[in-house]
C-alpha cells in the first residue's frame, strides 16, 4: 500500500514535469501545427536564465529572490526566443508541418552550440531556494518540497492558461483561430498576431519548465533533448492541441512510468511505455481527445 502511494506520488510528479514541457508544445503544435523540435532548447534557455540570475545578477546571497524572479523572466526569455523563431522561420513554413520539424531541429542544434559557447560545455549548478529544502511525509510517503513545488507550478500554469483562454479576449481569439482559422481571419482577427502570441506563450511555458528542471536535474547545453520526445508523446497521446488530453496523457504516462519502473527497471519501463503508446494509437489514432473541425471550403 505504501509502495502504491509513494509510486502514485512519484508518478504524479513525473507527470507534472512532463506536462510542464508538453503544455507549450500543446499550444504550438495544436494551434499552428508546428512541430517545434527546438522547444527543448527553450526549456534549456529557461534553466540557464535561472542560473544567470542566481550567479551573475543577484549572487548566491539572494537565492530565493533570484529563483522567484527567474519564473517570469524565464517565461519572457523562452517567449522571446519563440517569437524570433516564429518571425524568422515558422511563418514562412505555413502548411508544411513536417518541414517545420526538420527546420526547428536545425535550430535546436544551433541553440545547443550557442549555449555551449556562452556557458561552456560543463553542467552548471543552480541552488534551490531554502524553502524548498526537505519535505513532508504523509501516510508513509515522503514528498520533497521541490516535487510539490513543481506539481503546484503545473497547477498554477494550468489555471493561468484556463483563465487566459476562457476569460481574456486574447485567449478567445486564440481559441477562435484554432477552431476556424479562415473564419477568424475573415472576421477581422489578425491571425499572424495571434500566431505570434501563441508561439510566445507556448515557448514561454517552456522557459518556465526550464526553471522547474533546475530543481531536479542537470543544467547543460543538451538538457532539452532529455525531455523533448517524451513531451511530444504526451501531445500525441493527448490529441492534437487538446489541453485536457495532454493533462490526462501526462498523468497516464507518468504513472505508467513510475509503476513499470518499480516492477522492472528504468530501461525496460521506458521501452514498455513506448510499446504501450503504439498499442494505444491502434485504438485511438487521433489521441485521447478529438474534436471535429470544419473549414470554410
Amino acid at each position: 500500500m505504501e509502495v502504491f502511494l509513494s509510486q502514485l506520488f512519484i508518478g504524479l510528479s513525473v507527470a507534472s514535469m512532463l506536462l510542464l514541457v508538453a503544455l507549450g508544445l500543446t499550444f504550438t503544435f495544436g494551434q499552428m501545427n508546428v512541430i517545434n523540435m527546438a522547444h527543448g532548447e527553450f526549456v534549456m534557455a529557461g534553466a540557464y536564465t535561472t542560473y544567470v540570475l542566481q550567479t551573475s545578477v543577484f549572487g548566491t546571497g539572494a537565492v530565493t529572490l533570484a529563483f522567484g524572479l527567474s519564473l517570469p523572466l524565464a517565461f519572457l526569455v523562452g517567449g522571446v526566443l519563440g517569437l524570433i523563431l516564429e518571425f524568422t522561420l515558422i511563418r514562412r513554413l505555413h502548411g508544411r508541418p513536417l518541414d517545420t520539424l526538420l527546420v526547428t531541429w536545425g535550430v535546436s542544434l544551433m541553440l545547443q552550440q550557442l549555449a555551449r559557447d556562452i556557458f561552456g560545455a560543463p553542467n552548471v549548478q543552480v541552488k534551490a531556494p531554502s524553502f524548498l529544502e526537505g519535505g513532508i511525509t504523509v501516510a508513509g510517503v515522503s514528498m520533497p518540497y521541490t516535487r510539490l513545488f513543481i506539481i503546484g507550478l503545473v497547477v498554477v500554469a494550468l489555471l493561468a492558461i484556463w483563465f487566459y483562454l476562457s476569460k481574456l479576449p486574447a485567449g478567445r481569439r486564440m481559441r477562435a483561430v484554432v477552431q476556424n482559422r479562415d473564419l477568424a481571419a475573415a472576421s477581422g482577427v489578425r491571425t499572424p498576431h495571434v500566431d505570434r502570441l501563441t508561439f510566445f506563450i507556448g515557448s514561454g511555458l517552456a522557459g518556465v519548465a526550464g526553471v522547474a528542471v533546475t530543481l531536479l536535474g542537470s543544467i547543460g547545453p543538451t538538457l532539452g533533448t532529455n525531455y523533448i520526445i517524451d513531451a511530444f508523446l504526451v501531445v500525441i497521446v493527448g490529441g492534437l492541441g487538446q489541453l485536457r488530453g495532454a493533462i490526462v496523457a501526462a498523468i497516464a504516462l507518468g504513472l505508467a512510468n513510475a509503476y513499470l519502473e518499480y516492477w522492472t527497471d528504468a530501461s525496460l519501463a521506458k521501452a514498455a511505455v513506448f510499446a504501450l503508446i503504439v498499442v494505444f494509437l491502434q485504438f485511438r489514432p487521433q489521441g485521447l481527445v478529438v474534436t471535429r473541425r470544419r473549414g470554410l471550403a
Binding site: 513525473v14 560543463p122 553542467n123 541552488k127 520533497p144 531536479l216 543538451t222
Partner: protein, 419 residues
C-alpha cells in the same frame, strides 16, 4: 516575386557552400595523402616541416560527453605546452592535432584512423567512455599505433597498443569497497548507468561482496541521460542499505543527487560512494547536494604534493582561477608527460620503441609517483578515498599510502577467479 528571388539566391548560396566544402574535402585528401607531414592541418601551431612532432588529441568537443572530455583536453594541452616550453621532445616541438569525437563512438574510430593515416601522429591521447575506447581499440591495434587513455575504467582489458593512465578496478573500486566495509557497511545497493563500465564494475563488486559477507540489496541501471530518479530513490529507501555504490555517469549524477537530497536522504543516513564524480562534476551537481558523500579516486585537487601545487597553479593560470582540476584531468596531464619521457628515452617516436622504453618508467605526478607496469601498460597508482566538502573540494580521508600495482584482470584476488 522578390521573395521568390531571395529564396532562390539563398538556396544557391547554400549549395555553393556545400559544393565548396565537398570539393575542398576532395582536394585536401588527395594532397595530404602524398605529403602528410607538410599538408595543411587543423593544428594551431604554425610550425612546419620536420621541426614538429604531431600528436593527436581526440576527445568529444560536442555532444553529451563534451562536458567531461573538454576538461581533459585542456590539461593535455597544458602538458604539451609545458614540454614545448622546456624544449620539446627530441629537440622538436609537439604539435597537437585536435579532433572532435562528438560523443559518438564510430566517430572516435573514424577520427582515430584519420589521425593515424592522414596526420601521421606519433601518439594519440583521447577517449573517456569505455565505448569510445572499445571503438578505437581495433583501429590502434591494426595500425600498430599508440593510444593513451586517461580515465578510470572497468578493467578486463589489456591491449598492446593502449596505455591506461586511469585507474583500473583494483586501484579505485576495490579500495572504495574496502573503505565502506571499514566504515561498517554490511549491505550495499548498486546504482549505475546502463552501459559497460557500471555493469562490469557491479559484476566485480558482487563477487567481492560474496567473499566479504556484504549483502547486495539491489542493482539498478538507468539509461544514459536519465533524469528521473524518484522511483529508484524510493527503491533505495525501501531497501535501506548501509551504503550505495554509485557508477552513474554524467548528467544523471546531477539528477540523482538533487533528487536524493530532495527526498531527505542525507550522507549520514546512506552514504553514496561514487567513482565517476570528480571536482568538475561536483560543481555541476552543486556541492550542497552532494556534500558529505564519499568518492574514490587517485587524485584530488587538494592532494598535497609539490607537483600538484605546481599543476593546479599552472592550470588556473592558463584557464582561469575558477576552474578546478580532477582525476581524469590529472591522468591526461600525466600521460602526455609519460609519453614524452618514453620518447626521449627511446630516442624515437616509433610506437614499438616507445612501448619498450615506457616499461617501468616512473614519473612524479601530481598524485605522487606513478610507474608504468612492465606488462599491462597500466599505471601503478595510489588509491584515495575522499569526502566532498561543502565548498566543492574533496578532502582525502583515506589513502592506500603507496601506489597499488594495476591488476586489470583481478588475478591476484581469489574471489575474482570466476570473472
Amino acid at each position: 516575386m522578390t521573395r521568390l528571388g531571395v529564396t532562390r539566391l539563398l538556396a544557391i548560396l547554400a549549395a555553393a557552400i556545400l559544393a565548396a566544402a565537398a570539393i575542398a574535402g576532395c582536394g585536401s585528401s588527395s594532397s595530404e595523402s602524398d605529403a602528410a607531414d607538410t599538408g595543411a592541418s587543423t593544428s594551431a601551431s604554425a610550425d612546419s616541416g620536420g621541426d614538429a612532432i604531431k600528436v593527436g588529441i581526440l576527445h568529444s568537443l560536442s555532444g553529451t560527453m563534451a562536458i567531461s572530455e573538454v576538461t581533459v583536453r585542456d590539461s593535455e594541452l597544458l602538458a604539451i605546452d609545458e614540454i614545448n616550453r622546456s624544449g620539446g621532445v627530441l629537440g622538436k616541438q609537439i604539435e597537437p592535432v585536435i579532433e572532435d569525437g562528438a560523443s559518438d563512438w564510430p566517430t572516435f574510430a573514424e577520427k582515430a584512423q584519420k589521425l593515424i593515416s592522414e596526420d601521421r601522429v606519433a601518439a594519440t591521447f583521447g577517449g573517456w567512455t569505455s565505448a569510445s575506447r572499445k571503438a578505437m581499440l581495433p583501429v590502434f591495434e591494426s595500425n600498430r599505433a599508440l593510444l593513451f587513455y586517461p580515465v578510470q575504467y572497468e578493467g578486463l582489458e589489456q591491449s598492446p597498443y593502449i596505455f591506461y593512465s586511469g585507474a583500473t578496478t583494483n586501484q579505485q573500486i576495490i579500495p572504495g569497497l574496502e573503505y565502506l566495509k571499514e566504515q561498517g557497511a554490511r549491505s550495499l545497493f548498486l546504482v549505475g548507468s546502463d552501459y559497460v563500465f557500471p555493469r562490469t564494475a557491479n559484476k566485480e563488486i558482487k563477487a567481492w561482496a560474496r567473499a566479504n559477507d556484504v549483502e547486495i540489496l539491489g542493482e539498478e541501471y538507468t539509461p544514459l541521460g536519465h533524469t528521473e530518479y524518484g522511483t529508484l530513490i524510493s527503491k533505495l529507501q525501501e531497501a535501506r542499505p548501509d551504503a550505495v555504490f554509485n557508477t552513474l555517469n554524467g548528467d544523471s549524477n546531477v539528477a540523482f543527487f538533487k533528487q536524493l537530497k530532495g527526498a531527505g536522504v542525507s550522507a549520514r543516513d546512506m552514504p553514496v560512494m561514487s567513482v565517476s564524480v570528480a571536482e568538475e562534476e561536483v560543481a555541476g551537481i552543486g556541492p550542497e547536494n552532494i556534500a558529505g558523500h564519499p568518492v574514490a579516486w587517485n587524485y584530488y585537487q587538494t592532494t598535497d604534493t609539490p607537483e600538484n601545487r605546481r599543476f593546479v597553479r599552472a592550470f588556473k593560470d592558463r584557464y582561469g582561477a575558477d576552474r578546478v582540476t580532477s582525476d581524469p584531468m590529472e591522468a591526461g596531464y600525466v600521460q602526455v608527460h609519460i609519453w614524452a619521457k618514453a620518447v626521449e628515452k627511446a630516442g624515437s617516436t616509433d610506437p614499438e620503441k616507445v612501448k619498450e622504453a615506457a616499461r617501468g618508467l616512473t614519473f612524479d605526478a601530481p598524485e605522487g609517483r606513478v610507474r608504468v607496469d612492465d606488462v599491462n601498460q597500466h599505471l601503478y597508482k595510489t588509491a584515495r578515498i575522499g569526502v566532498i566538502e561543502p565548498d566543492g573540494q574533496i578532502r582525502e580521508v583515506w589513502s592506500s599510502g603507496r601506489p597499488i600495482a594495476p591488476d586489470p584482470y583481478l588475478r591476484t584476488y581469489d574471489w575474482a577467479s570466476g570473472l
